[in-house]
């Protein structure tokens, strides 16, 4: 049996602390931001390795630090925040990223941002169209990874937005224009396939290569758009395989808020995917067993690891360690093998305040420990 049983990990983003946002704008910290900084530093010692930056920020001299070093400090904060919670795999809470779409797209040529599109109410996101041949300017997230590798004590796991999601969240002009005749369903599907595969080969793959060269061993490919068009699950897989084929690293695929059954069995063709990191806790409510969908993996005979979402990132109420333990136990029943289970939040915790995020991570770690004791006992 692998040791320890039920290892823990994060999935992606954390909320940026107020002091980081103010510091990036070179605004002097207000009292609340200073108090927050001091409280977390006392708890996790995140600023110990950056004493000059700590002093400058707390003494009202943010310009001496500058936005880039503030981001470094933000990354250091997230690394220690996650390590202090006791996770086995960590990253930097995506402290340097604005979001998961715009940044990667801006590292490529061939895209043109078109304007804002409504997500809901008065919330918008910037959306680009691929208008020309796609070229990566340079592999991205590499310096970010270097920083984490240098400072993290736990194993770093980097999240990368997958090719299918980058394509789905963009407009497709270039590839669609190459289709002859009426741009109906068949033409759109063919154009999207070309787009996804090009993104995988020309942008994601060189980035993964560069990350592995720098020592990256664990890579999470985020494909939140996968569940949006269940009939395109094969395209999700084609993109994943094109991006990861032949690389020596541990790959996982993160999908959330989807009907996973609709994506099977197509997803199972993701050859290099060692772990499914999926959301479950959000749907585990009101007598509905959110983990029952794991039976589908068993039905198809899939024996990969599962990154088990055990806390809901969309609610402030914090799950107890006992709830987490019970969820793990149910997953073991469905999968039949405790060794395959990693324990994590459903998704990135960025929408939760840092105290709530930390409380949920504590529940993840303590719940996993309870389950570990249960399954390590002679009665198992």
């Amino acid at each position: 049996m692998r040791s320890p049983l039920f290892p823990t990990q994060e999935i992606g983003s954390l909320a940026k602390p107020r002091w980081q946002l103010m510091g990036q704008r070179t605004e002097p910290l207000d009292d609340a931001a200073k108090a927050d900084f001091r409280a977390w530093d006392a708890r996790t010692h995140f600023a110990e390795e950056m004493p000059a930056e700590r002093a400058a920020l707390l003494e009202g001299r943010p310009r001496e630090v500058g936005p880039e070093r503030v981001r470094d400090l933000g990354a250091m904060f997230a690394i220690r925040f996650l390590e202090d919670a006791g996770l086995d795999r960590v990253y930097d809470g995506e402290a340097r990223r604005i979001e998961m779409y715009e940044y990667p797209i801006r590292q490529m040529r061939g895209f043109r941002f078109q304007g804002h599109v409504r997500s809901f109410d008065h919330k918008y996101y910037l959306k680009a169209a691929v208008v020309d041949e796609l070229r990566l300017e340079r592999p991205y997230h590499v310096e970010e990874f270097d920083f984490v590798r240098l400072h993290a004590k736990a194993v770093p796991k980097i999240p990368l937005t997958g090719p299918y999601t980058l394509a789905d969240w963009s407009y497709n002009e270039y590839y669609l224009a190459r289709q002859k005749g009426w741009k109906g369903r068949g033409a759109r599907r063919a154009a999207q396939r070309e787009f996804v595969v090009d993104l995988a080969r020309r942008a994601i793959r060189p980035t993964i290569h560069a990350l592995i060269e720098r020592g990256c061993r664990v890579i999470q490919i985020d494909e939140p758009a996968a569940g949006t068009h269940p009939d395109e699950a094969e395209l999700v897989v084609e993109g994943f395989n094109a991006a990861t084929e032949g690389f020596d690293a541990e790959f996982s695929m993160h999908i959330c808020y989807s009907n996973y059954r609709d994506l099977l069995p197509a997803l199972l063709e993701a050859k290099q995917c060692r772990q499914w990191a999926w959301e479950f806790a959000n749907r585990d409510t009101d007598g509905h067993d959110g983990y029952a969908v794991l039976q589908a993996l068993a039905e198809y005979g899939d024996t990969r690891e599962v990154g088990l979402g055990v806390v809901d990132v969309h609610r402030d109420s914090v799950e107890s360690p006992e709830v987490v333990r019970a969820r793990i136990a149910r997953a073991v029943r469905y999968l039949g093998d405790p060794d395959r289970i990693w324990v994590n939040p459903d998704c990135g915790l960025r929408t939760r305040s840092l105290p709530v995020a930390r409380a949920k991570l504590d529940a993840v770690v303590r719940g996993a420990a309870l389950a570990r004791a249960d399954f390590s006992s002679p009665r198992r």
């Binding site: 969240w169 741009k183 109906g184 369903r185």
Partner: protein, 323 residues
């Protein structure tokens, strides 16, 4: 061929309006300044619709957060629920929750219309959720069956139509993507037909369009043909014209020829070709052309740029679009 053109859903907000709504959230502008900008922008949308020769004007319905909110927020018996994905898109609506029998406060929907429309109702195109789509998306906690909800929403929407006809409106477009995304069968399909009967009765001589999108329209054609409406629309990004059954259709045929899921502009000759092919297969009395899905899946600039294909096609095929 008689061709008419127009918007088939809300328009996107231009960038200055997006900035202003954000500024209001952050306390950087006042509600009065935002209201002034909304009115000015609605006038710009109307001016654009007129320049493009559209059969009716909408003002863009720029204030609505989603098409259900004017009802979920104003009709009694409803609450506004959680964010929910809108079809296979990266946009979300707040799911209406039906807690008990819905009641329509008179005048409440008219108060949510763009003010510019109320000044020229005879030219206005009213957007409404279709009763089947409305019933399908809501969280029904009322205890009534889904079929009964379709009936009930049909009656309430008919009351809205009657009230708006009284104000002088003559064109009503019902957004019904669920008719093709999840085509109803059996008693539910009968409930849909019955749900449109009170609407037909309320219309008097006004026009009614049912606009579907998001999936292939062909499986739903038998039901669409039974609806007592002036025209029904299908999304040509999802529906292959060559597979449309040959028939002489009683109602007008709406064709979604502008695809809001891509910024790539449509080729006028290709659009004309596909419209001609659809017309030959269905022989409808009128062809209505518009975006295949709500245009607010695009930002303002590409959305308005893409609309220019409509008058060009109308000119090429019909009588200029103003028959």
């Amino acid at each position: 061929m008689i061709v008419r053109t127009g918007l088939t859903g809300p328009a996107p907000r231009p960038e200055p309006l997006i900035t202003a709504t954000r500024d209001l959230d952050r306390g950087r502008t006042t509600p009065e300044a935002l209201e002034e900008l909304f009115e000015r922008t609605e006038h710009e949308v109307v001016a654009l619709e007129r320049r493009l020769g559209f059969e009716s004007i909408t003002g863009g319905y720029l204030r609505w957060p989603d098409v259900f909110r004017p009802f979920a927020e104003n009709w009694e018996g409803f609450a506004v629920g959680p964010l929910t994905r809108w079809l296979e898109t990266n946009t979300f609506f707040r799911q209406p929750i039906l807690l008990g029998p819905p009641v329509r406060p008179p005048g409440s929907f008219a108060a949510r219309l763009p003010p510019t429309l109320l000044k020229e109702p005879a030219q206005g195109r009213i957007l409404l959720p279709g009763p089947y789509t409305f019933a399908s998306v809501l969280d029904n906690r009322s205890g009534e069956t889904d079929e009964a909800i379709v009936h009930r929403l049909g009656r309430l929407l008919a009351e809205e139509v009657a009230e708006l006809c009284g104000l002088g409106f003559r064109t009503f477009l019902f957004l019904e993507p669920w008719l093709v995304v999840r085509p109803p069968e059996g008693p539910r399909a009968e409930a849909v037909v019955a749900g449109y009967e009170p609407i037909r009765a309320a219309l008097g001589g006004a026009s009614s369009l049912v606009w579907t999108y998001g999936a292939d329209g062909i499986p739903a054609l038998p039901l669409l043909e039974r609806l007592p409406v002036s025209a029904f629309g299908i999304d040509l990004a999802e529906t292959d014209v060559e597979r449309l059954p040959l028939a002489r259709q009683r109602a007008g045929l709406g064709l979604g020829v502008v695809d809001p899921r891509t910024t790539l502009g449509e080729d006028m000759a290709e659009v004309a070709k596909v419209v001609r092919a659809a017309h030959e297969r269905r022989r409808p009395p009128v062809v209505w052309l518009g975006p295949g899905a709500p245009l607010d899946l695009l930002p303002w600039e590409p959305a308005t740029r893409k609309l220019h294909v409509l008058p060009a096609v109308s000119q090429a095929l019909g009588d200029g679009g103003r028959s």
